[in-house]
Symmetry: C2
């Protein structure tokens, strides 16, 4: 039986991403974000939503650039810290010992130690209410060599990204392999 | 060492969601989507991106409503089929044996057997290129009683949602519990 839970942001799964930017003083900053996703294939675009009071908000608007660094499970505590502290008060890279790497393509830093990174040019913003959606065009993706599959693309079982569950606030990582998209459903019929 | 992979939609994790709508003939239809995410807390909003040629595209625009049904791992093949066939040609609910349930709140159906469902009123669309982003206000969330935790919210370990990996097209499910958000990072410093 289905229970009504009200108008809440209870979608699953949500990501845990670290959004990198340079602030007005040129300091590398980063924040944790779970409200986001890919939003277009051509041009390749990704969206992430921020509150206006976040230190990263003005930084991204000013430089028209941000990065998404995908933490693996072994950086879960560091990634979580990026959602606890504010770049207004502390240097989160220094506090965690992680390395801000300057992108050569966009005016923003990414987390050097994380296995998967997307460099984005801000395309537009969409005001929605508590959050403003930032839509970025993905200009490059960089991944550690050891998380790539035999075809050269990031394998989720090797990246081991974190999954955030809204409201319960639990982090999980990626689990068992289930099958291939556009294949396992063919038992119900082929593409028409 | 990081390898450059080019401008591709290689973010992880992405969801596998089933988007429900009624077409112009009043038939329940649903499609698989992986380009989406929560985009605002107040009002609670979710975004999903569709190509204009999809059968669901005109349906959602006409009725200003859609649902997101979250499949669990045991419905992986059915959910994948929703991304293979088109509602222009076949009744995907009939083909899979799944039940379209009419939402009492928005003019769209959801998948009765899936453990977690979001009912959404279309707020706006954002044209991006190959995909158009649909932003929906979440008007209610419904979940099966047996996927709720002790506080009454959906537990990812019980929902067992599917994770889609772009480009490699692999499905995984949620794995091990890692810890609580806003807690495991406190070793690096408290909230300032």
């Amino acid at each position: 039986m289905k229970i009504s839970l009200g108008a809440k942001t209870l979608a699953q799964p949500a990501p845990l991403w670290i959004v990198g930017s340079y602030d007005e003083d040129g300091r590398a900053n980063a924040m944790a974000a779970a409200w986001g996703g890919i939003c277009c294939s051509k041009p390749p675009c990704i969206t992430v939503s921020l509150r206006e009071e976040r230190h990263s908000y003005a930084s991204i608007l000013a430089r028209r650039a941000f990065t998404i660094s995908v933490p693996s499970i072994r950086f879960a505590a560091q990634a979580d810290y990026f959602g606890i502290a504010s770049g207004k008060d502390v240097d989160k890279f220094a506090a965690t010992g992680l390395t801000p790497v300057r992108s050569e393509l966009v005016d923003a830093p990414y987390v050097g130690e994380f296995p998967l990174v997307l460099e984005c040019a801000l395309l537009r913003t969409v005001e929605l209410g508590m959050h403003i959606q930032f839509i970025g065009e993905i200009v490059d993706v960089k991944a550690e060599e050891d998380v790539l599959d035999e075809k050269g693309y990031p394998d989720a079982a090797k990246v081991r990204p974190l999954i955030f569950t809204p409201v319960t606030r639990a982090y999980h990582t990626v689990g068992e392999y289930v099958g291939q998209a556009f294949e396992i459903g063919r038992s119900f019929g082929e593409k028409s």
